[in-house]
C-alpha cells in the first residue's frame, strides 16, 4: 500500500501528475472539435512546427510559449497560403511546411547548443517542469477553456458543417483562425507533457474514443475530457514505477482506452456490431 503512495511523497511527482491531468483535460476537450473537423493531421503538423519557435524564443530570452505559439500560427498561415497558391493537395502542403519548420528547429538547436535539450522537446519533460513553465501552462489552459466555453456552440457548427455556419451568418474565417490558435496554444502546452511527437495523440485519441461511445456532442465533450484527465493522471502516476517516459505512458493508456472503446462500445463497438449482424441474419 505504501509502495503505491510513494509517488505522492515527492513534490515533483505531485506537480507532474496534476499538470498532466490539466493539460490532458484541455487537449481532450479540444480533441472533440478536432476529430469532428478532421484536422488530426493539422494537430500533428502544428505540434512539430512550434519547435523553431521554442529555440528562437530561448535564444532571444522570451518565454518559450510565445515563440512556440507564433511559430505555430506562422506555420498554419503558411500552409493556408501555399495551399491557395499551388495545385498541391492539402495533406502534401501540410507535410512540406511542417517538416520544413521542424528541420529549421533542429538546425537552430544544433547550431546553438543550449540548455534546451532536444529530447525535452521531442519527448516532453513533465517531471522536471519549472514553476514559470507551470504558470505558462496554467495561463494557456485557462484561456483555452474560457474561449472554448464561450464559443463552443459556434465552433461546433463550424466543425460540423462549415457551409451551414456561414449561411446563418457566422464569421467562419474568424472561427477557422480561432480554432487554429487554440490548436497551437494547446499544442504548446502539451509539448511540455508528452513532447512534439505525441501531442497529436492528446489532441485526437480522447475525442475519437468518446465519439465511439456516444452520439451526442455534449456527452462526447464530457466523456473525452474525463478520459483525457484520467489517462493523463494515471499515466504520469504509472511512469514513476516504470521509471521513465511520462508521455509514453500517458499515450499508451489513451490508446488502450481507445481500443477498449473500439471493441466494447455499447452501440458502435466491434462486439455489438457483430451481435447486431448475427441478430439481423437470424431474423
Amino acid at each position: 500500500m505504501n509502495e503505491l503512495l510513494m509517488p505522492f511523497h515527492y513534490e515533483y511527482m505531485v506537480k507532474a501528475i496534476l499538470v498532466s491531468g490539466l493539460i490532458g483535460g484541455v487537449c481532450a476537450f479540444l480533441s472533440c472539435f478536432i476529430t469532428l473537423k478532421g484536422w488530426s493531421l493539422m494537430g500533428d503538423a502544428l505540434s512539430h512546427a512550434v519547435v523553431p519557435g521554442v529555440s528562437l524564443a530561448w535564444l532571444l530570452g522570451l518565454p518559450f510559449s510565445v515563440g512556440a505559439f507564433l511559430a505555430g500560427i506562422l506555420a498554419a498561415l503558411g500552409m493556408g497560403w501555399v495551399k491557395a497558391n499551388s495545385r498541391l493537395r492539402e495533406d502534401a502542403v501540410i507535410g512540406v511546411v511542417f517538416t520544413t519548420f521542424f528541420a529549421l528547429g533542429l538546425l537552430l538547436l544544433s547550431l546553438f547548443p543550449s540548455n534546451l535539450n532536444l529530447r525535452t522537446i521531442i519527448f516532453g519533460n513533465i517531471l522536471a517542469i519549472s514553476d514559470p513553465d507551470i504558470l505558462q501552462v496554467l495561463i494557456i489552459s485557462a484561456l483555452s477553456v474560457l474561449v472554448l466555453g464561450l464559443k463552443w456552440k459556434d465552433l461546433l457548427l463550424f466543425c460540423f458543417d462549415e457551409t451551414h455556419a456561414r449561411s446563418i451568418g457566422l464569421n467562419t474565417r474568424f472561427l477557422h483562425f480561432m480554432l487554429l490558435a487554440l490548436l497551437s496554444a494547446t499544442a504548446v502546452a502539451a509539448l511540455q507533457t508528452v513532447g512534439a511527437c505525441l501531442v497529436v495523440a492528446m489532441l485526437v485519441t480522447p475525442g475519437a474514443t468518446a465519439y465511439l461511445l456516444t452520439d451526442r456532442f455534449g456527452t462526447m465533450l464530457f466523456l473525452a475530457t474525463a478520459i483525457g484527465v484520467s489517462c493523463s493522471l494515471l499515466g504520469a502516476y504509472t511512469s514513476y514505477f516504470l521509471n521513465g517516459s511520462t508521455g509514453g505512458c500517458i499515450v499508451v493508456l489513451q490508446t488502450l482506452a481507445f481500443l477498449a472503446a473500439l471493441i466494447l462500445a455499447p452501440k458502435h463497438g466491434l462486439l455489438s456490431a457483430r451481435v447486431q449482424r448475427q441478430a439481423a441474419s437470424l431474423s
Binding site: 499551388s86 512540406v96 521542424f102 533542429l106 529530447r119 511527437c197 485526437v204 485519441t205 521513465g244 517516459s245
Partner: protein, 297 residues
Amino acid sequence: MNWLDPFRYSFMNEALLTGAVVGAVCAVLSCYLVLKGWSLMGDAISHAVLPGVVIAYMLGLPLALGAFASGLFCAIATGWIRSNSRIKEDTVMGIVFTGLFALGLVLFTKVQSEAHLNHILFGNILGIEKAEMLQTLITAIVTLVVVLLLRKDLLLFCFDVGHARSIGLATAGLYYLFLSLLAATIVASMQAVGIILVVAMLVIPGCTARLLTDRFDRMLLVAVSVSVVASSLGVYVSFFINASTAACMVLAQSLFFTLAFFAGPKYGWLAIRNQRRSSGKARTASGAPEMARNGGL
C-alpha cells in the same frame, strides 16, 4: 577552408553516397505518395517503426526487420480499424501511430542505449557503420528496382483505383505491395535521416516535381534529381556549418521546393500571377491558360 575538404574524409564520401541513394529512393516513392494523397501515411509509418526497432534490439534481431514489421503493422491496423469503425481515416492513423510510438518509448526505458535511440530518431549519416550502410544501400536499391519495374501499375493504382481494378489489376495486392515498399524505404532511410524527418524526404521531392511538370515520367526524373542534389548539398553544407545533417538535408529539399513554388515555369506563383495579369488585360484570351492548366495530369 577548402571547398574540397569534405571529400578528403571517407566518412563524408560514404555519407554523400548514402544520402544520395536514400534521397533517390524516397523521391521515387514521394511521387506516388503525393499523387495518392498519402503524405500522412509516410508520417505514420515512420513513427510506428519505433516499437519494432526496440523489440528487435531486445531480442537481438536485425533492427531493420523489426522496423519493417512494425511499420507494416501500423498500416494494416489503420486500414482495419477504419473499415470496422465510424472514425475517419486520418484520425485512426493519428491514434495508431502515436500509440505505437508511445509503446516504443515505454519499452525503450527497459533498454539502456541512449545513442541508439538518438540515431534512430535523428539519423546518424556521418557515423554510419559499414554494415548499416550496406543494408541501407541494398534495401534502397531493391525498393527502387521493384518500383521502377511496376511503375505503370503503381501509377494507375495511385491515380485511379477504380480504373485499375476494372482493367484487371490486383489492387489489393498492389495496396500491400505499396505499403511494403513504403515501409522498406523508411527502414532504409532510418539510419540516414532518422524517423522523425524521413517524412520530409517522402513528401517534398514529389511536391517540388509536381509543381514543375505534368507528365509522370518526367515527374519521377525531376523528383529524383532534385532530391539527390538536395541530399548531397545538405550533407556537404552540414560539414561546414557543423549542424545536424538530417536537418540540413531537409532544409535543402525545402529550398528547392520554395524555388519551384515561386519560380516554376508554369505553376509557379510568379507565372500564375503574370498569367492572371495578362488574361486580365486581354479578356478574350481568358480560358486558354485555364485549359492548359487543367489539361495535364
